[in-house]
Symmetry: C2
Subunit: 328 residues, 2 copies
Amino acid sequence: MTDVARLAGVSHQTVSRVLNEHPNVREQTRMRVLAAIAELGYRPNRAARALVTGRSQLIGVVSQNSTLYGPASLLAAFEQAAAESGFAVSVGSVSTLDRQSIVAAVERHLDHRVAGIVVIAPVASTNEALEHMPAGVPIVAIDGDPQRPGALVTVDQVAGGRDATRHLLDAGHRTVWHVSGPDGWFDSAGRIEGWRRTLQEAGAEVPPVMAADWSAAAGYRAGQMLARMPEVTAVFAANDHLALGILRALSERGRRVPDDVSIVGFDDVPEAAYFIPPLTTIRPDFDAVARASLTLLLDQLRSGEPAIVRHTIAPTLVQRDSVAAPSA
Amino acid sequence: MTDVARLAGVSHQTVSRVLNEHPNVREQTRMRVLAAIAELGYRPNRAARALVTGRSQLIGVVSQNSTLYGPASLLAAFEQAAAESGFAVSVGSVSTLDRQSIVAAVERHLDHRVAGIVVIAPVASTNEALEHMPAGVPIVAIDGDPQRPGALVTVDQVAGGRDATRHLLDAGHRTVWHVSGPDGWFDSAGRIEGWRRTLQEAGAEVPPVMAADWSAAAGYRAGQMLARMPEVTAVFAANDHLALGILRALSERGRRVPDDVSIVGFDDVPEAAYFIPPLTTIRPDFDAVARASLTLLLDQLRSGEPAIVRHTIAPTLVQRDSVAAPSA
DNA sequence: ACAGGCGATGTTAGCGATAACACTGCTCCT
DNA sequence: AGGAGCAGTGTTATCGCTAACATCGCCTGT
């Protein structure tokens, strides 16, 4: 930086001003500095800047298992959005979502003086951890408790559950069964609620929830039970992988989809269009979630005040071939 | 830090020594400092340390599209391994794998004074970018050019292609068709080579490669052609999603798997066991790749010398139900 | 014509750590 | 007994920036 200043014939502080786009720099001087920067190939040391400002150009993301389709897509989308705004993203995944691990992960990020933190908080314990957070930096929760005070961006799970269920009801089914995600996840709860409410509003019978997790294996197990129950004609699976497992169980027992049983999934994984049959599903807009989170974070950064904003992103129904009218 | 020093009745430098595990600190003093740290809840400012040492406790990962199963799993595994060694991981994904983008991504990481960089470099251009890198920090390539000088960790694609092909040949098929990954990827090339060589060694006819990309959609298209060719009894798909697309195309045309056509995939995605039928596939050990990369990086960090080491991780065959003897 | 103000720049003082060197008692050797 | 050597500690300088204040012209209003 000193070199740049010398070459441009100014003080290092003026170079800093140019770098930070301070208003009070003469255009001509600015040009000279910029030229010197280019000639020397100078790049500012972000560690030094982080030290003096107390903030690095880094956003920390805390999430659990980035191998699940949702979190992975979210992370990728967020990283891209952040890069466009000049921020790098540092990931701090945790093996369990309990409060202590989350707090530890957040603190690790804080040690690096991140500018902000995004926590993918799909369960209650994760969420609680956020309550007791040293509020030095902006924090945004994704997928957190819809009731949570503070910055939150979430997919409208209830609307997704509603749309899936309504779609099946509209096709003529008397009721819809549900294979749910794991207990304790807000995603699961929201989808269940949307499903149940829609059934109740339509005056349809509400079958018991078949609790599973997010895996195809659990879907397969649930599917084996479903396949033995002739009264089941419509199933809403809490995600596409679950749906895949159900599809296979059904096919093994000779129950055809959509002829005998209709199915709707959730996520719209890229492969869903190539399941047998192509899966009708609910597609959450991860890009929108990522962008909204970043905006929220950046706003807090600018204003200095913690935001109490909730963004809810509505998912959309993607129709393919796994839904039909009941045969009877 | 000054507070800690005062509380422990020592100088800040001694605190620093305790933190960095310097040998020349009396046990008693060490204890006193540790106690003070605990009492004050002191946490070192990593930005300051990064400034003075020129290295942050951060490892930069450069990759393209972290939504693909391979890169996503790799990233997750690497992040976990790094966390165990006290490093955070900052991701810098890039939309295209051309040289310029890669160089830019690496430089962004360098600005943050990362301790090391991992580049997931599946194509030649990415790899070239690495040649002309300011070698200030250790760099490890994953999936890069097997001929590349420098630190490289890669899945043994050739072995994977060989195992898949041999498995089909052993089942009694006269030859094996191959639906490949995108042009230019080392992964594709390696799998093709393993497949072709095995066929040649067995004296089997080598059918033309059906070039695709990594998507189920491309697999479906290839599958539609394959389905119309009665002489095709065995297919090796370059990844599981491709295989899924092929499976559907085959099923639509009434060709049964494995009765009429046998299929082997690659990746062992968690859902592969729930395809119809469950997919026999090749499973690369992403964990091992991640750990090996980290080790290589850390070794370079310690020794100060660039490594010229190549690690090759052998994948394993996972047998399920998509392979059988040919019917004729 | 001159005080006041403002725009453009320079100077100085940290941010919170580590590195390098200086210092103090010991122990140990000859 | 006297100095070399070393373990344990403190002092000072420094990393590369930005914040805060100081400085210097020059324009403006009366």
